[in-house]
Amino acid sequence: MFTRILAPVDLAHKDKLGRALNCAADLARHYGIPLAYVGVTAAAPSSVAHNPAEYEARLAEFAAAQGAAHGVTTEAHARISHDPISDLEQTLLRAIDEIGADLVVMASHVPGLADRIWPSNGGRIAEHAKVSVMIVRPAES
């Protein structure tokens, strides 16, 4: 059904993404397809890495660890953006095309009133991506 899954990852907050990441890994294992992690960062130092080279290394480490933990083939694709907060959507959409993914699995919050004025990243990707997008909401508490 699918040939490659793309999972956007925010390495600074990866502990909050557990549900979406597990979901992506499960699907990759089910279909026997590779799972591509995409991380977007600025060139300036961030809390994750001091420079793009280090960021790529961290993302690769992360992908390898996830691959080993879930038993799936993983890839790491780091993307450098001039302004990650505002360019996230375009960067991800471009990455989907470049990587050739046909399913995107990403986390998003439960929609609220604010989303009517300011749609979430997940919502916007789902709206504009040409491929299937699965939005994983947090578990009901």
């Binding site: 600074a12 960062t41 600025a42 060139a43 300036a44 130092p45 961030s46 809390s47 001091h50 420079n51 793009p52 080279a53 280090e54 290394a57 001039h82 302004d83 990650p84 907060i85 505002s86 360019d87 919050h109 609220g112 604010a114």
Partner: protein, 546 residues
């Protein structure tokens, strides 16, 4: 190629650099959380103290306007009158330092690593650094300053009790029209040429070097690592960053407030829009709203696009004025002015024993303090967009090209205005108040309604580009150097800036606070000189690795 024993943990960015190994990580001092659905990620204590100090100063100025005005104008007078030699001398040193870097082997160090590619094309890069650094001033002072220095020079010197009382530069040129023109232009170009851009270039270079090559957070404090070492993560660094935020926000807010006044005058001149607080508040709100959209769209989608539009329009206006104005005169005027600048530069740049006290303190020292107090903001913004350039390329493009552009601009606009006075006996521009002078000058040329309208649009958009880039800079500093802090934070700073401008405009106190901000220029001069030293050390360690 890499020396693994020196770099234990942090890989080099792109090619060889001398990364600084430090245990400090961006975000170590940050508090992350969310207010309801609104996320935040702020540096503790820089964010809180900056915001609180700003609010406190605004309240003080509005609550006790006379006292604030006298305290701040005393600070300002103290700065420009007692330390004019320090300001002028330091700016000279900085110019020499940047010129030196072009020719030394340090010029071949690349920001971001030897393999790094420039983040932006020349056009986009240049548009952004120009619009952030200087745009607004050129619109008004482009016509008024040449006229002012020309007429004071023509008026000759006047003295009382051995002290000069006139405002002419250097020895003036009493009665000699041709020489007064040359001296007037030289003085103008002096204030808008090599010196301000060398100041911006130095701060920008320091920040870009320590961020992109050495991996330190993108904040002002990082440039001080060679002096303070690990102590910059503590109160020394906090103080440097807080003062930078303070100066940037008040510099922007007061500019915005005055800008609204100037735009109001322009709109009144053109369209009879009433002059008053309501119009100004509407203008500030409009400017803030557009800046907000730009800030949300980000660097590429917002700031860069607006800067390019601005440069395009400004270029169009300059070209139009050149063509329909006295073209032949202006072309020779450009070269004459450039020669006059070079000829008078040593005397204008002389820090000591100046007889032209009013000029050197009231104009030059005032300008230098003003540029220097803006330099953390402009420098940091230029640093942010300059990755991938070599030091040599960087200085040529941040120092020499903008200086040349300013000379051309001053020659075209100032030259046309002076020509109108000399040849057509038109004194309308000279006699008008500052914000109206540009429009008076354009009024004498064809298509005045269109050009003046473009002029107003340019003024407004230049304010927007200062506001949006300033908000991004303040956001980054108060987030501890993170350029990816949550969106609501930059929205906060953008709106806060507009709110402060409105509060000061209505409550009174724009002039008072502007004096105060300019006085911080004195403090920053020390910072500037320290940065020269730090750049030298930083580049030396880069070269050692190459």
């Amino acid at each position: 190629m890499t020396d693994q024993s020196a770099n234990q943990g942090i890989p080099e960015p792109e090619g060889i650099t001398s990364v600084i190994e430090t245990d400090y990580s961006i975000g170590d001092n940050n508090i992350e959380g969310s207010l309801g659905r609104v996320p935040f990620d702020i540096h503790n204590p820089v964010f809180a103290i900056s915001a609180a100090a700003i609010v406190a100063f605004v309240f003080y100025t509005i609550a006790l306007p006379e006292q604030a005005a006298s305290v701040f104008s005393a600070m300002f007078a103290f700065t420009t009158q007692n330390f004019d030699w320090f300001l002028i001398g330091s700016a000279d040193l900085v110019v020499l330092f940047t010129l030196l870097l072009i020719v030394t082997p340090y010029g071949s160090v690349r920001l971001g690593g030897s393999e790094a590619k420039p983040d932006y094309t020349y056009v986009g890069w240049f548009a952004m650094l120009f619009a952030a650094g200087m745009g607004i001033g050129l619109m008004f002072y482009g016509v008024s300053e040449p006229l002012t220095h020309f007429s004071t020079s023509l008026g000759g010197t006047a003295a009382e009790g051995g002290l000069r009382t006139d405002w002419a530069p250097l020895g003036a040129a009493g009665g000699n029209e041709a020489e007064a023109v040359r001296l007037g232009m030289a003085a103008t170009i002096f204030h808008w040429g090599l010196h301000p851009w060398a100041i911006y270039a130095t701060v920008a270079l320091a920040l870009a070097l320590f961020t992109y090559n050495k991996g330190l957070p993108l904040t002002i404090r990082s440039a001080f690592y060679p002096i303070f070492g690990e102590k910059i993560w503590g109160w020394r660094g906090h103080t440097i960053d807080i003062i930078a935020v303070f100066a940037t926000l008040f510099g922007l807010a007061t500019s915005l407030g005055f800008g609204a006044t100037q735009a109001n005058a322009g709109l009144n001149e053109l369209f009879n829009v009433p002059i008053g607080d309501t119009t100004k508040v509407v203008l500030i709100t409009l400017i803030t709203a557009v800046a907000l959209i730009s800030v949300v769209r980000g660097l590429d989608g917002g700031v860069k696009v607006l800067s390019e539009i601005n440069m395009g329009l400004a270029g169009l206006l300059a070209l139009f004025t050149l063509i329909v104005g006295p073209t032949v005169f202006l072309i020779t005027f450009f070269f004459d002015s450039l020669v006059a600048y070079v000829q008078y530069l040593p005397a204008l740049a002389n820090p000591f024993a100046r007889e032209d006290v009013n000029f050197s303190q009231g104009w030059t020292a005032f300008y230098w303090a003003w540029w220097i107090s803006w330099s953390p903001f402009v420098g940091m913004f230029i640093a942010r967009v300059s990755r991938g350039r070599t030091v040599r390329e960087f200085i040529v493009c941040v120092l020499l090209i903008p200086s040349m552009v300013c000379v051309m601009w001053m020659s075209i606009f100032g030259g046309t205005a002076i020509h109108q006075v000399l040849t057509d006996n038109f004194t309308g521009a000279q006699d008008a108040e500052l914000p109206r002078q540009l429009f008076q000058m354009l009024g004498q040329l064809p298509l005045a309604q269109i050009t003046s309208f473009i002029g107003i649009v340019l003024v407004i958009v230049f304010f927007v580009t200062s506001s949006d880039s300033g908000s991004l800079v303040i956001d980054t500093i108060t987030a501890g150097g993170k350029v990816d802090a949550p969106m609501p934070q930059r929205v906060f700073w953008c709106i806060f800036e507009g709110a402060v401008a409105i509060a000061l405009l209505i409550g009174g106190g724009l002039a008072a606070l502007q004096s105060m901000v300019i006085s911080t220029g004195l403090l920053f001069t020390v910072v500037l000189l320290a940065m020269c030293y730090c750049i030298w050390k930083g580049l030396a360690s880069e070269r050692a690795k190459m």
